[in-house]
Symmetry: C2
Subunit: 149 residues, 2 copies
């Protein structure tokens, strides 16, 4: 079933229902991914309905499996050498809406809904510095966050 | 000068004019970037007016300098070990509209105008495979390209 732009229809959260129903097919997803020598693959997080690129981090097989199974994005922290459940301490959870894999299988694109902000500086996106007037300029200020977010 | 969303105004192509006028300030941009042990940084290319994430590739200092100086995106090909001027052979050039750097300085976001398609499979974006119904499904077909693009 394709729409007029030639794209397959996108049943919302189908992957989550699937993963819960039949986790074996995870191997098909995993087989398409080329992990680096450290067992990691870069993952780009993008706000699903605005297109804003929020951050880039790394995932291993286990974090991908958990992300697909729970619908909440889990990365692998290279500095801590451990799973990093985004928002676990900050409350700034990323809810998975779609997972894409690129042609070479060496990058993952996560379409998410971001609770609060993605950046530890309090900004919505980590990419808040831009080349302007020959230097780097901050183009977004930290947001005031509602309590509990 | 900020607009009502608290963002600095974005003078189009200011970085290109600047780079041509006063290339020394490139060092300020470079100093904000953390390159990996191979001297590379991941770079995400995003179509500037639609938000579509097109691809992820790698840049070194030289490719960043060339990109800012020319306004045409140049990566570093890890497989060839050489500069990769996107579109040089295919004609599928990426025209730089904006360059962003993330909070940790370890990822670059390139807002571009993509001539033709970004993916070597003939698709607009490299991220054309999505997790659907428990497996991976192609959600975009190769485009018919006009001659010469």
């Amino acid at each position: 079933m394709t729409n007029r732009r030639g794209l397959a229809d996108r049943p919302r959260d189908a992957y989550i229902r699937f993963m819960n129903d039949s986790p074996l097919r995870f191997d098909a997803v995993l087989a398409a991914i080329t992990f680096n020598a450290d067992g990691l693959v870069p993952a780009i997080a993008q706000q699903h309905h605005t297109g804003q690129v929020l951050m880039m981090a790394w995932m291993n097989a286990e974090s991908i499996r958990e992300t697909l199974a729970t619908g909440r994005v889990c990365y692998f922290s290279r500095s801590r050498g451990a799973l990093w459940r985004k928002g676990e301490t900050s409350g700034h959870t990323q809810h998975l809406k779609d997972m894409r894999i690129d042609c070479d299988g060496d990058t993952v694109l996560l379409l998410v809904h971001q609770d609060g902000v993605a950046c530890h500086t309090g900004r919505r996106s980590c990419f808040f510095r831009a080349v302007r007037d020959g230097g780097l300029v901050a183009i977004a200020a930290p947001e005031d966050l509602p309590a509990g977010v």
